[in-house]
Symmetry: D2
Subunit: 347 residues, 4 copies
C-alpha cells in the first residue's frame, strides 16, 4: 500500500432506502450516510451494483448522487457510479457529477452485451478522452464484460483521467497481474477490491482498499479488518476476515442479491423498505436467524451495545465467553440458516 | 406448427439507422421498415438485443416504437421490446405501447443481475398481473438471467397475458422441454427461436417461428427457409439453412455484435451510420469480403438482381455456375474473412 | 443422409453387467448383446462413456471387446472404444482390435487435461498415422477436450483412416458447421450424434446416425425414431422424440451417470449388478417410478407385451386409452420422480 | 499455520524424465530428485497432474513411486499420487504404497465423469474406510469433479485416515471456508494449495503449505517465498510472489500443460526428453525467451551462479543493477514471449 495513491481505504457501495411508495426515502438515506461516516468508512460509492443502479431511472440516479454529496459535505470521498446507456449519456453524467464537487470520482462499467477486449478498450478510451472527472474502471465479470489486464494497462498508460480500478472478481492472481502491469508506470493508480471475502489477502498483496458491501452492514468490522491488516496484526485480522466470510456468505447466498444486505441493514436500525425486484412468497429472508448471526458477530468483536433492530432475542452475552466457542456458534447458526434457506429453495 | 397460435412466422429484430450526429435517422428507419415488409417478413421486433435497446434512452426507445408503428400501419405484427429499469417502468412502457395499437405485443427481459428462478418468476408474474398488453417472455441466457422450463410453465399456467416465449439460446432440447411443458395446457402459446443458425430444426420440432437477426439482412432468404421448412421441402431447406449458418457466423463473429449485422444492412443499400458502441481502430469490419459473401449467397438462391450497396466489385455471376461450387466459394470467403479478423484480434 | 457413408444408423454404447464380485458378468453381457441386436440396433459401441470405460482396467477393456466381438459374430458393426493412457497404448489397442476382425472400428478420445486445438490435432494425427483400423473421432466436451471444427476438417483432410466423428455435445449448429467443413471433400465421412434428446433434428440436418445410450434401454424406440425420421414421417417421429427426451432426462438426471441407465436396463429384464462408482445411502434410484415411466412409454408405442423386470405393478393398459393422456401421464410421473429426486438431493 | 499438522511446507509435484524411447529415464529421475531435495523442498509428490500420471500405465506409475521412494530414503516426505481406474484399484495402490514405507501418503482424485457431491463423498468414503495409509483429498476442479466444502467437512469428520486436502483451484475464499469447516474438529488436518500464483496469500490466511509445480523448476525461490511468508517478511515475500506469478504464467500459458514446466526444468540442467502428449510443429516452446526469463529471475534473487542449460546467452548481470529495473525487464520479456506465442496460436 503506497501512501500517494488517489483512493485508499474502505468505500461503502451504499444501498438506497425506499419509502412505502417505492420511491427514494431521502431522510433515511441521509441518516444512513451519517451513520456510515460515523462508523468509520473512508468513502461512499453510490450507484454501484449493491446500490441497484440499474433499477433506478436516470433522474433517480442523479438525485441519489445529489443527496449523498449534499449530506457528506466533504467529510469522506465519493465514488459516484456513472454507468449510463451509452458513451454520450455516461459522459453527461460525468460532467454533472463533476459540477457537484471536486472530490467526486466517476466509476463506469459496461452492461448487457459481451464485449471483446478491443471494444471494452474503445468504450473506456472514449470516456477517458472526454471526462472532466477522474474515472475508476469497474471490473465485475459476473455481471458485465470483463476488463482484462492488457486493457487496464493500456487505459492506464493512455488516459491520465483513469486513476483506479475497482475489481469485484475476487481473483487474487489477476489482481497481482494488474498491479504488476500498471503500478510501475502509474504509482498513484489505485486498486480496490469489491470482494469482501478476500479483503485481507487482497490488501496484503498490494491493494489500496476496497468497495465492500459488508461495510454498509458492519462498517465497524470492515474498518477494523482494514486497520488490523495494514498495521500487520495478521492473527487478529485473519479472525475478522474469517467471520466476515461467514457473514458475507450468509447475506449474499441467503437471498437474491442485494436483498440479504438490505435485510441486514434493517437489522442495524434502518428502514430500507421493500426492494425494487419483486420477490415470490417463498423468498422471505429469515430475519431472525440473520439478526442473531449479526448480533453474535458484533458482540464477539466488542461492538455489543449496538442495537440491531429491536429483534435481538439473544441475551447478548452467552456467546461471548470464549473466542473459539463464539466463532463456532456463529458458524452453526449460519449453517442452520443456509440449510433452511436451501430447504426453501431460496439459495 | 399449430394454426391458431398467437404469433407465427419470421419477426425481424430490426436495427436502428443513426444519422451523423448519432441520433435516430427516422427517414432511413421508415425506408428500412418498408423494405423489410416488402421482402416478406411476418413481423417486426423493435428494441430487441439486435436493435441495441440498452444503448438508447427511455425516450428514444419510445420514439423507435412510435416510428415503427406509424410506418407499419398494421401491415405486419409488431413485438415491441419493453424492458425498462424496473417493473414499474416496464409496465408503464407496456401501457404506452398498448395505446399505440392493439397488434403490438410487449417483450420483456431482465438485465444485469443474475436472478434465481424464483425471482425471474416473481418479476414476470408482477408484469403479467399488471400489463394491458400481451407479453412474450424473452429468454437470452448469454446476456440475461435464464428463464427455466418450470418458470415458463408456471407463468403460462397463471398469466393469460403471457402468450409466447422468444428463446435465443439455440438449445433445441430445452425448446422441446418447454413445448412439452406448456403446449398441452396452452395450445395457442407461441414458441419463437432467436437463433437463426438452428431455425430449420427448431421449426421441425415444433416452433412457430423466429425472431431472427439475419432476416434484417436477407429477409428473402430467411422467409424462404421458413416457407421451405413448413411446406416439407427439407432438402432445399437444409441447403438454405447451411448457407444461413455461414452468413450468420460471418456477421456474428466478424465484429462486435451487432456491428456485423449493421455492416451487412449497409451492403443492402441502407445507411446505418456509426453504431453507438465505440470501435478501436483495429475493429474495422472487412466490408469487401462481407459484401462478396452476401452477393454470392443471394445470387445463388436466385436473388441476383439485388443491389448490395454499390460495392459489388464481383461480376455477380462467376460464382453462380454450380450450386456445390458456390457454397464452397462462400465458405472459402467466409473462412478467409474470419481468419483475417482473428489475425487482427477482432474475433 | 448419403447412402455411401461408412457408418450409419443407431449404435448402442452398451453397458457392462457386473457379477456379485464386481467382475464382468460374461453370460449376461452375451445375453444383453443378443437382445440389443434382436431389437434392431445397427451396431454396438463397447467401451464408450456409457460403458464406463474409465472404470475398467486395460485388461478388462480388452476382454469386453473380445466378448462383444465373439458374441456379435458379424451380425452388426462394432465401434470399439480405444482410448488408453497415451498415444502408444492407444495404438496398441487399435492394433489388437484390428486383429479381432475387419468390421471393428476404433474410437478415441483424450482425457483429463484440457488440450488446445493444436494438441488435440497432434494427438489424433499421431494416431491416424499409425492405426491399422479406421478411427472415429469422439467429441464429448462435457468430459474431455473439445475437438473443434477446423481440427475435424484438418484431420479429415489429412488422415484417410479417420472416417467419422461421434459428437455428444448436442450442439446442432456445430454439427452443421462440421458437416459443411468436411462433407464436400470426404462424402463418405460419417457424422453420428451421441445426444439422444436431439436425434431427430440431428438426422434432419444431415447426420448419418447416432450412438445413443437410450438405445441400450429402449432399442425398439430409438430404432423406430430413426426409421420414422429418415422416411419423412415427421409428425410421428416428433412424438417419439418428445417421449425420448422425457425418458432420457429421467435416466440422465435421476442418478449419477450412467446409473439411471443401468437401473433402466435392469427393468428390461437384465441383471446389471452394482456399478463400480460407490453410491451413498441417499442415492438409491427410485426404480418403481422409473419402471412405470418405462412401461407407459413402451406400451404407448405398441410394445406393451414387453416384460420390464417383473416389477410392473401397473395393470399395463390403464394409461393406454388415448395418446395425449398417456404422454401427460408419463410426464406427470417423470416430474414426480424428478421432484422426489431433487428433494433427496440426488439431482 | 499450526505446528502439529501432518503435512507442512512445499511439496514438489515432480515431473518424470523420459528417455529417447519415451520410457522412464530412471537415472535422470534419481538425479532430479536429489537436486530438488538439495534445493530445499520439504516433500515430493510423484504422480500428480504435473507428473502426468494419466499418461503412464499402472505399472509405470508404481515404478515411479518405487524410484522416488528408494532415492529419497526418508530425507523428505512423499505424497504418492494414487488415483486409479476405480475404488478397488485405488485401494490396491494405497496398499502397495503403504508397504513401500511409513512416510508415504496417498492422494486420490476422481477422473472423467462429473460426479455430484454425494458421489464424490461415497467415492472417498469407500477409500477412507479401506486404506491402510493416510489419504490427502485432491481438489482440482479444472480437471476433475470438485470436492465441495460440506463434503470435505464430512470426510474429515468421519474418516481419520483422511488427513489433508490439496486444493488446486486457486480460490482463496473457498480455502477459508474449508479451513473454517474442518480445523475446529481436526486441528491436525492439513491444507495445501496447488496454485503457485497465490501461495503467499494462501499461507497468510492459514494454509500449511503447497504442492507447487514451480518448485520443480525454481525450488530455491518457492522455498524462499514460503520462508519469507511464514516468518512475516511480507514486503520481500510479495516481491517473490509477484515474480513467481510472472514465471508461472509464462510456463503455464506458453505451452500445453505441463510442457512449459518440462522445458523449464531442461533449462535447469536436466534432460526431460520429449513428453508423451504429441505436439504439432507450431507448438515449439520458445526456449530462448523462457531461458532468459528464468536466468533473470534467479539472478535477481541471488541465485546467479546457477547454470540454466548452457543456453544463457545473457551475460548474467546486466539486469541485476536495480530490483525495479529487473522486474520490469522480466515482465517485458514475458510479455514479448506471450505475445509471440499468441501470434503463433499456441496460447
Amino acid at each position: 500500500m503506497t501512501s500517494h495513491v488517489c483512493l485508499q481505504g474502505i468505500f461503502t457501495p451504499n444501498l438506497v432506502p425506499l419509502d412505502c411508495r417505492g420511491d427514494i426515502n431521502e431522510p433515511e438515506l441521509r441518516r444512513y450516510i451519517d451513520w456510515l461516516i460515523a462508523k468509520g468508512v473512508h468513502g461512499l460509492y453510490p450507484n454501484g451494483s449493491t446500490g441497484e443502479f440499474t433499477r433506478f431511472t436516470v433522474e433517480e440516479r442523479r438525485r441519489i448522487i445529489e443527496i449523498v454529496s449534499d449530506q457528506t459535505r466533504g467529510r469522506v470521498a465519493i465514488l459516484a457510479g456513472a454507468a449510463e446507456a451509452n458513451v454520450k449519456e455516461t459522459i453527461k453524467a460525468c460532467e454533472y457529477y463533476h459540477q457537484l464537487g471536486r472530490r467526486a470520482v466517476a466509476i463506469v462499467a459496461r452492461l448487457y452485451y459481451k464485449l471483446s477486449p478491443a471494444s471494452v478498450y474503445a468504450y473506456f478510451k472514449e470516456i477517458g478522452r472526454n471526462t472532466p472527472i477522474d474515472v475508476t474502471l469497474y471490473n465485475i465479470p459476473m455481471f458485465a464484460s470483463p476488463i482484462d489486464v492488457p486493457t487496464v494497462r493500456r487505459l492506464a498508460d493512455e488516459c491520465e483521467k483513469v486513476v483506479a480500478i475497482k475489481d469485484s472478481s475476487g481473483d487474487i492472481v489477476n489482481m497481482i497481474r494488474m498491479i504488476q502491469a500498471v503500478r510501475p508506470h502509474r504509482p498513484e493508480f489505485a486498486f480496490l477490491t469489491g470482494w469482501d471475502a478476500a479483503l485481507m489477502p487482497m490488501l496484503l498483496i498490494g491493494c489500496d482498499g476496497g468497495t465492500n458491501a459488508s461495510s454498509g452492514v458492519v462498517p465497524e468490522l470492515t474498518r477494523l479488518l482494514y486497520d488490523l491488516t495494514v498495521s500487520g496484526r495478521l492473527d487478529e485480522a485473519r479472525q475478522v476476515q474469517f467471520d466476515l466470510v461467514t457473514l458475507f456468505d450468509t447475506m449474499i447466498y441467503s437471498a437474491e442479491f442485494p436483498n440479504g444486505f438490505r435485510a441486514a441493514v434493517d437489522l442495524r436500525g434502518f428502514n430500507m423498505g421493500i426492494g425494487r425486484q419483486p420477490q415470490s412468497d417463498e423468498q422471505v429472508t429469515d430475519l431472525a436467524a440473520l439478526s442473531r448471526a449479526l448480533q453474535c458477530l458484533l458482540s464477539q468483536h466488542g461492538f455489543t451495545d449496538e442495537p440491531i433492530g429491536g429483534c435481538s432475542t439473544s441475551s447478548g452475552k452467552p456467546d461471548s465467553v470464549g473466542g473459539e466457542l463464539q466463532t463456532q456458534d456463529v458458524s452453526a447458526i449460519v449453517h442452520t440458516v443456509v440449510a433452511e434457506l436451501k430447504r426453501r429453495g431460496l439459495v
